[in-house]
Symmetry: D4
Amino acid sequence: MNNNPLVSIVMGSDSDLEIMNEAAKILAEFGIAHEIDITSAHRSPARTGEYSHALSVIAAETTLPVIAVPIPSTSLLGLDSLLAMVQMPAGIPVATVAIGKPGATNAGILAAQIIGTADEGVARKLDAYKKKLADGVEAKSRKLKESRNS
Amino acid sequence: MNNNPLVSIVMGSDSDLEIMNEAAKILAEFGIAHEIDITSAHRSPARTGEYSHALSVIAAETTLPVIAVPIPSTSLLGLDSLLAMVQMPAGIPVATVAIGKPGATNAGILAAQIIGTADEGVARKLDAYKKKLADGVEAKSRKLKESRNS
Amino acid sequence: MNNNPLVSIVMGSDSDLEIMNEAAKILAEFGIAHEIDITSAHRSPARTGEYSHALSVIAAETTLPVIAVPIPSTSLLGLDSLLAMVQMPAGIPVATVAIGKPGATNAGILAAQIIGTADEGVARKLDAYKKKLADGVEAKSRKLKESRNS
Amino acid sequence: MNNNPLVSIVMGSDSDLEIMNEAAKILAEFGIAHEIDITSAHRSPARTGEYSHALSVIAAETTLPVIAVPIPSTSLLGLDSLLAMVQMPAGIPVATVAIGKPGATNAGILAAQIIGTADEGVARKLDAYKKKLADGVEAKSRKLKESRNS
Amino acid sequence: MNNNPLVSIVMGSDSDLEIMNEAAKILAEFGIAHEIDITSAHRSPARTGEYSHALSVIAAETTLPVIAVPIPSTSLLGLDSLLAMVQMPAGIPVATVAIGKPGATNAGILAAQIIGTADEGVARKLDAYKKKLADGVEAKSRKLKESRNS
Amino acid sequence: MNNNPLVSIVMGSDSDLEIMNEAAKILAEFGIAHEIDITSAHRSPARTGEYSHALSVIAAETTLPVIAVPIPSTSLLGLDSLLAMVQMPAGIPVATVAIGKPGATNAGILAAQIIGTADEGVARKLDAYKKKLADGVEAKSRKLKESRNS
Amino acid sequence: MNNNPLVSIVMGSDSDLEIMNEAAKILAEFGIAHEIDITSAHRSPARTGEYSHALSVIAAETTLPVIAVPIPSTSLLGLDSLLAMVQMPAGIPVATVAIGKPGATNAGILAAQIIGTADEGVARKLDAYKKKLADGVEAKSRKLKESRNS
Amino acid sequence: MNNNPLVSIVMGSDSDLEIMNEAAKILAEFGIAHEIDITSAHRSPARTGEYSHALSVIAAETTLPVIAVPIPSTSLLGLDSLLAMVQMPAGIPVATVAIGKPGATNAGILAAQIIGTADEGVARKLDAYKKKLADGVEAKSRKLKESRNS
């Protein structure tokens, strides 16, 4: 599936893989070709840093949309990572989502939404995904009511 | 230009207009049709709230990408607004950018980048915009050196 | 007891149940009919989000008092959840209490206090509950003194 | 109107009056009898403190609902005030609303909502108020569109 | 030793005992008579709250120095507790020390320092304690150097 | 009055004088001899720093109680100053009060309370001061009620 | 003086010049050759960003020491800028100093201290500078005492 | 190796050793002579405090560069420690790096960079270290791709 990837997931360290796999899972579920790499694969010392710091370089060198997932592994719960990512200067937009796994899931959906603006097949899969989420919550709601009535 | 808008700028209050105009300016510069509205125009009491609170409703009802600009007018400098926007639950992605005017500018560019993934004309304009920014900084750099050498 | 509920406990996820059960316990102790549900039972995609985000919708659509309990399960200890809930815009009041279980307990008592403004039976139970709390602390104080004197 | 007040607005200092008047205005608009006082009127040195500190005393001595408005006049933008109010221990609920004037407005509406649970006249006024808010936003939306089309 | 206590250690809950025992240990080491109690022993509902909230009452009713130890058991790491204690309004001083056990130790030393301003015996014990601390660090320093040279 | 000062007010910079004068005013009102100095008067380069940093040196070299007033002049509203002061390590207690002028006032009262533990004259003045504060609030309360009734 | 600069002051925007001039003044006072530039002078789009984001690139490409001054112009008082700079990943050290002008002054002194480790002339100037600071504080202390005694 | 140390690693407590060993490891890897000590080895009570507080004394008494590593062992995750270190007043620069082990590693590299400004051997080792880091990331990237293709 990784030929001609539409989405590139770039991490600052292989320890981010557990979190960023949530984004990959969403993209796989939507059938969107993607690749995962560690930033330094580009062989520049400038890319040995963490994603939070490296992404300003990526954001500045492309006109493609860049999505950022703050990693909560740092000592300040990810708040430092979040602020470094979201407070980009005017001219270098970075689409920041929530800290950690919920953010990685949303990064995958957001990438699909971007692709879905011009790809009706992906847009339909997003509608189905939304319905599946709603059905899942409804099932849990039913189960909760049954357990309280029994 | 507002016929068939590709981008909808939705505010929680007309007091946000000064900030969100920065996004409108970018979209106008790129020739992207857009509209600006206050959330409650949809006539639902659910939409009388501030953008930071109303956008979860918007994000949950669409499969189009949603970009959020935290407004710094609140008493906590916009940090409360930023956290409420960026920390969306898994399943409802919101692409959050920086607080205030730099964020509004970046929201405009990010919208153009999303459209540019399938519209080569917009992609070329983004390249030109990036070059213009770099030229502007270079001119300032030259001026700074001249002023220090004279 | 769930027929004609006076209080509706609405959660964004079944993982909030352990915390929100503290509110249910208080209401059961006061004999106040209540129901517990997950937001999406209402079958709208707008309600698949977390409570912190969904409650602005609830608050905007009702003229009944809405009480919010910030859930500490997020990566920022619940501070993001707290700020998103308490910093509601003018026109949409949400009565926010403490993060987590102490907040859920207080949400239950606050609901009882609201009902108690027009229901003398509940008001009397609140007086008794307050006395029970004070007696409990006094017993602990006595025990502490005895353990230090022995 | 101050005979037989249903709502008591208690401040820690007369410098809070400008903010808390927003709550009084709402109560007056709904025709709900209320009083405004500075805490120390009760003549106890324990009540010379600021509202944020004094309200735990009030909350502990009553079984009526207590609503707290964090005052932004302190050096930390009101965040210290907000945390002190909202993080009450289990057993002493305080319904905290937003910092400053939006919070004071919401405190007034919340008080009306509590009274409205047993007073149909107030409940009807709340419905009318909500409609007035929605109409106001819609008028602003219309005006915004006209100004952009002209 | 608890007859005629010079220092009263007041807690909001018996769960604070593990932390506040550090203060008691220091006072015992200095031979200063003290008592430990839970606030509600005074039988007032106003005193069923946590120490952070109850101490404004204590501080307002006495002209004796009041020392506050923020308890880290709350969901915000004790930062909420710290801000609520230290940001007392003008007129009600509370001497706040560090969060948790280091703070409890320092509260004990501070109480001894206050007593030592008029009691030469306690002042001499404080000098000896300071020397003991310095000797302890020196011993650790020597041990560290030996372990690195061997 | 500065002969044989009982209290020494030490500042890191003469720009702190406006705030710390609030402490001096209280001490003068209570007739307590005091001095004000800038830390570096002791001629050590270690003392050219700000109070927040210099006070750990003072606290470590004395067995007298040390009170700290965080100065809000720094770029982080005084929160950095507050945390640096209050989070002293075990063994070096510093009695921290509120940020800025309210804190300086309370530092003066706290110093008087410490002296008042062994000086009945000062203790009586503290009682009178407390009564004066309560009377002041009561006068304001009366004035507020009159203005609302007229 | 700008030939063969030993120190390069790099800014993200010419609006940072007022703050960073404090560093230049210190370097000029110590006779250390330096240059000031805006990052994008290097003509790379990666360098159009703010200093806080661009410096990870600089830090990653050099083995010379890199000093960072957080700029307080952002909406979060510079705290976001500070955290983005100081929380660099292992392998890319950045020597962060205080926010704003005090930080810029200290950045200049720190650069001089680094040069002074191998340049005795600069080391002697640092000793003289330190003495000048201490003398200045002493003069202010004397003036303060005279004004209080007169 | 500890004769004629070029770098002195000073800790406030032996419990900091696990973190600060990361700095020692880097210095050993670069063959830079260094010593590790606990502050109080200097036998002054002023030095019994934690590093975050003691370093202002060190910074004020030397014209050598001082690097600070915030220790995350405190109750506020190290944020208090970080702010106390980085927000030094003008005149006392302290080069602050990240909280905890990544910061200690970077403190070691930064010390080597400072020495490398005048020692070509160390500068060459820094270039080699940088290359080793980049090679390590590249190896991880290769391994990640292989694991996904298999």
